[in-house]
């Protein structure tokens, strides 16, 4: 057709793929450091899990760089994407939490942290933080809450969410196992803590099989009214 002749050059190769003209290289302030984060909310608990691999291109910078950060006794945040922006963002959130504590004499609730993070991220709308955030914690009533964000601050409350490099692989599995989507005639059983932890481990083992940026070890943070418990599970290191 008329349009196809513009795609191929004179030598028969596709123009965009085999480009042979001049190219301007610009410094990119962003870099992708990989990693996957996952959060699940239960009736009275929340789980935030992440792998601990820090990579860039074909190299692995570190095998022990977890992406879950404890914010308060009832809230944990998982940040994946560009590690530099993750570090700065968590420092900013910690500072804002301290300011709130000193001004209002109480800790920020999970919902308040989520709303604040949305405005922090949107404040950099035209040079965004390249971070995919997921907050897991307990709300004011003690129920599990998960808030998922996009890099510029759009957020909403979910029951479960996967973010990061393997998110497209994990999210359908979670939709099926926790949300009972695309299954006919099954009983919708509520998730208890032991089953949720086991599911998270299985899901990350699958992610490590198929995603090159996910692996090494899995760090699980379980948030309950008794505090935050951490568990580390080894994953494939190749």
């Amino acid at each position: 057709t008329m349009f196809a002749t513009q795609v191929y050059g004179d030598n028969g190769k596709m123009k965009e793929y085999h480009y042979t003209g001049p190219v301007e290289h610009r410094f990119s302030p962003y870099s992708f450091n990989g990693g996957t984060v996952l959060a699940v909310a239960g009736e009275d608990f929340a789980i935030v899990a992440s792998d601990t691999r820090l990579s860039e291109g074909y190299s692995i910078h570190s095998r022990d760089s977890p992406k879950c950060y404890k914010l308060t006794d009832t809230t944990v945040i998982g940040c994946s994407g560009f590690h530099g922006d993750c570090l700065t963002l968590t420092k900013i959130i910690d500072a804002r939490l301290k300011m709130y504590k000193h001004s209002n004499n109480k800790c920020m609730t999970s919902g308040a942290i989520a709303a604040m993070l949305s405005t922090i991220l949107y404040g950099r709308r035209f040079f965004p933080y390249y971070v995919y955030n997921i907050i897991g914690g307990l709300d004011e009533e003690g129920k599990g809450a998960v808030y998922s964000f996009d890099p510029v601050g759009s957020y909403q409350r979910d029951t479960y969410k996967a973010g990061g490099s393997a998110s497209a692989m994990l999210q359908p599995l979670l939709d099926n196992q926790i949300g009972f989507k695309n299954m006919e005639g099954v009983q919708h059983l509520p998730l208890n803590q032991e089953k949720a932890v086991q599911l998270v481990k299985d899901v990350f083992i699958s992610a490590a099989e198929r995603d090159v940026y996910t692996g090494d070890a899995l760090r699980i943070c379980i948030v309950t009214k008794d505090g935050i418990k951490e568990e580390t599970v080894p994953l494939r290191k190749d």
């Binding site: 949305s118 949107y122 035209f126 390249y130 996009d150 890099p151 510029v152 601050g153 909403q156 497209a168």
Partner: protein, 276 residues
């Protein structure tokens, strides 16, 4: 002001903090990730009030980021905003709009009209014209003029039927054929649902469920969210059964009505919801 720094807007030549504005002089940094786009929202006016409907899929260049997003946000009991465009931009700008409308009511003792709200949103978005802020909202409410379309490129239109988003051509096809002033409530609701269903069927970036709101003098009522997969199976069954009932009026769904609380409403005549 923080917004000025963010947008790189220079109002005086003596502005010396050029380091914060340097991103505006060089070409903007390319984002390594896509933002959410793609939707079908619609709103129309009829004798029984205003109907607003939207799908619930938030897509992010090929991936469904969220299958249950909420695209119709209530500002107060008599004003709804439908969102289309970039998800974060819509969420934040409508939060800002809700705050400004509430402040107006507190300062002036009366509710800001929908015309005024539309103008306010349009003027707030104007400094960002030319950047990649993408907000296309329809303000629906109960007022003298009931329906406005505001877009971040500067458009502000009053009308009686709007459909916005990637699925809007398909929705317009259904609505232009059937919308009349004299529709009754059930017909209007099933028409809106049908239009969103047709758009989600043909547009890849719209899908999942449909949200329906109906605004009357008493406020808005919201119907339960319906999964359009059921609608697809119902239509298949009807087609297989050889029924020739193609009239849209007969496709009544199974949504239930849930009405807003009819408590004593505050001065200004509206009930406010917490801005989340």
């Amino acid at each position: 002001m923080a917004l000025q720094d963010v947008s790189g807007f220079q109002d005086t030549p003596i502005h010396t903090s050029l380091s914060s504005l340097s991103t505006s002089s060089s070409p903007p940094t390319r984002r390594p990730f896509p933002l959410s786009h793609g939707t079908t929202t619609l709103a129309f006016v009829f004798q029984g009030g205003v109907i607003a409907a939207a799908d619930t899929r938030a897509s992010c260049s090929g991936l469904v980021a969220c299958p249950s997003a909420q695209k119709i946000l209530p500002i107060h009991s008599h004003l709804l905003v439908t969102t289309s465009g970039s998800g974060a931009d819509c969420m934040l700008w409508e939060r800002i709009l809700a705050r400004e409308i509430r402040l107006y009511q507190l300062r002036h003792g009366r509710r800001l009209s929908i015309t005024g709200s539309a103008k306010l949103l349009s003027h707030m978005l104007h400094p960002f014209k030319g950047t990649d802020v993408c907000v296309a909202a329809t303000l629906c409410g109960w007022d003298v003029e009931e329906l406005f379309y505001v877009c971040s490129d500067g458009t502000r239109l009053q009308g009686e039927l709007f459909s916005v988003g990637s699925g809007s051509p398909y929705a317009y096809g259904v609505l232009d054929g059937e919308v009349r002033w004299s529709l009754n409530e059930e017909e209007a609701i099933s028409l809106a649902r049908e239009a969103v269903y047709r758009a989600t069927h043909r547009d890849a970036y719209s899908g999942n469920c449909v949200d329906l709101f109906h605004i009357t003098a008493q406020g808005y009522c919201r119907r339960d969210r319906e999964d359009l997969r059921e609608e697809y199976h119902r239509k298949r069954e009807r087609k297989d059964a050889g029924s020739h009932a193609t009239s849209l009026v007969l496709t009544l769904g199974v949504g239930k009505r849930r009405s807003v609380e009819r408590e004593k409403i505050q001065r200004g005549g509206v009930k406010w919801h917490g801005v989340e």
